[in-house]
Amino acid sequence: SLQVVWDTLGNKQFCSYKIKTKTQSFCRNEYNLTGLCNRSSCPLANSQYATIREEKGRCYLYMKTIERAPFPSRLWERVLLSKNYEKALEEIDENLIYWPRFIRHKCKQRFTKITQYLIRIRKLTLKRQRKIVPLSRKIERREKRREEKALIAAQLDNAIEKELLERLKQDTYGDIYNFPIHAFDKALQQQDAESESESDVEKEEEEDEDKDKREFVEADDSDLSDFEDMDKLETSSEEEQENEEETEKKASYSKSKGKTPLKGPTRRKRPYIEIEYEKETEPTTKTKAS
């Protein structure tokens, strides 16, 4: 009759525990010894069968004999195996004495596998475990939106600039930057605060004023010395010279900062003025060209 069972369920017709893949078929029955769907490893088609199963870290040997076949509730007999590996193997041998070789062998193999993975579980739990935190989509979206709004409200560039100017005013930078008007203001403050060193302060003020005046005068001269000429050769040479002048000016301007100038913010400071100068070498170039 077991042969009949196998012939119908296992081989030909439907078995609910059977899973077929392209190369192999597996058995999902929990009492299956090997996990494959074979005539010798099907728990339904063998009246004398044994398995090893693990519960909460302890291994049990389950046995089924033909005598108990009509009593399904008492069908599977369970034996607790010892924690010691060798002893447990002996216990398996003892319980399955006179049983077919195949079942004995497969039971021991299965037991070995189970103990190995139990050891691995115990080792892994000692190591660090990644804690998985669930993200709520609604919360995430809300936080993102609030961050964007906070960014807009922060006006970071303005805030940073204000702070830097504050620090400049409070003289945290010391003598690195010398803006004449700034010094003038400072001098004014000194004058208001201390009345003793007035004379020194006045001298400083005068010097500053003179400097400013001198600066203005120079600019006027350069403006007056504009000569408008339509000749291309002249304009090119003049432009070269003017570029040199600009770079020189920039170099001197940046030397006070102590660093090479950057491209971005410094360029846009002045409107681009073309100042044309006459050079002595012009007539020579003209004659050469002609």
């Binding site: 936080e143 609030r146 709004k149 409200a153 922060a154 805030a159 400049l168 700034h182 900062k257």
Partner: protein, 324 residues
């Protein structure tokens, strides 16, 4: 009931809404059962509200112009910062107790210039490309910092080793799905540990800028808007990452700006064009942080003593309440 026939005249055949629709005072849009009609009525009601508002605005403007100089001053618009719920832990600049606390807390040796900050930057296990690059850039921004890869080491074992090697701060950047999303900042000789959520990380190449790499100069630090006690301690934590004496020659500034509990980090180079104008150029990475928890000792998630944890259900109830 009076609007019934008007509403049921059919959507397509309905002419454009008349200039002044008079809704009877007991009428409520929500009482109409039909969704289409209700929607239509709602739109009409909305339009009318808008018209009324516009008319009121115009009237007010006319009145204001008519009054001229005698007009009352313009009302200040309400912003979230204006309406912020007053936090009782806000620090008063002249508070002595706070000053005393700050003179004796874990950062006192830093602020007294007894210790020079030395920082170890590391990540969670198996960092991916973006995180690695971010760590490198962060180490160029913060002077005197090293990046060490974490190859499965437990933090609790790293910390005593770091202390032995004289590190003052430990930064761990947590990564999820190839992007950095968390930051743990721990002040080492038994100092507070802050855990942040990091968002919108931009690497250097993603920032639209034309500047060069940050140099080795020590940058200045700007801490904005840290008003409460908690904010103060967090601000001091950030300040202690950078050496105390900035080199103004470098003209670099690192900014931690707190706005509505979000801390924005930026790294700029500045240049003073005149005494009233300054230009800034952004270099370096940028990211935003949100504080999740502040712990008293070094990193210990199980037995640590937490000074502050963000509890969403209790603390996120009001839109006007901020903790930093």
């Amino acid at each position: 009931a009076g609007q019934g026939p008007a509403g049921s005249a059919g959507r397509d055949a309905e002419p454009p809404a008349p200039e002044r629709v008079l809704f009877p005072p007991t009428f409520s849009v929500s009482e109409i059962k039909n969704k289409q009609r209700r929607h239509f009525m709602f739109l009409r009601w909305k339009q009318q509200q808008r018209k009324e508002k516009l008319a009121a605005k115009k009237k007010r403007r006319k009145e204001r112009e008519a009054l001229g100089d005698k007009a009352p001053p313009k009302a200040i618009p309400k912003t979230i910062e204006n309406q912020r719920v007053y936090d009782e832990t806000t620090v008063d600049p002249n508070d002595e107790e706070v000053a005393f606390d700050e003179a004796t807390d874990e950062f006192a040796p830093y602020f007294n210039r007894q210790t020079v900050p030395k920082i170890l930057i590391t990540t969670s296990d198996r960092p991916r490309g973006r995180t690695v690059r971010f760590c490198e850039q962060l180490s160029t921004v913060i002077p005197n910092s090293r990046v060490y890869y974490r190859r499965g080491l437990a933090l609790k074992r790293i910390i005593p080793q770091c202390i032995a090697r004289d590190f003052t701060d430990l930064i761990v950047i947590n990564e999820d799905r190839k992007i950095p999303n968390g930051l743990v900042l721990s002040h080492l000789p038994d100092g507070p540990t802050a855990h942040f959520r990091m968002s919108s990380v931009r690497l250097r190449k993603e920032i639209k800028r034309k500047g060069k790499q940050p140099t080795e100069h020590v940058p200045e630090v700007i801490l904005n808007n840290f008003t409460t006690r908690l904010g103060h301690s967090v601000g001091r934590m950030f300040a202690s990452l950078f050496p105390h004496d900035p080199q103004f020659v470098g003209r670099q500034v690192a900014t931690f700006h707190n706005q509505r509990d979000y801390i924005f980090f930026r790294f700029h180079r500045y240049i003073f064009k005149s005494e009233k104008k300054v230009g800034i150029q952004e270099l370096g990475p940028r990211f935003t942080l949100k504080l999740r928890s502040l712990q008293k000792g070094t990193f210990d998630s199980k037995f640590g003593e937490y000074e502050w944890i963000h509890k969403r259900r209790e603390m996120d109830t009001s839109r006007r309440k901020f903790h930093l």
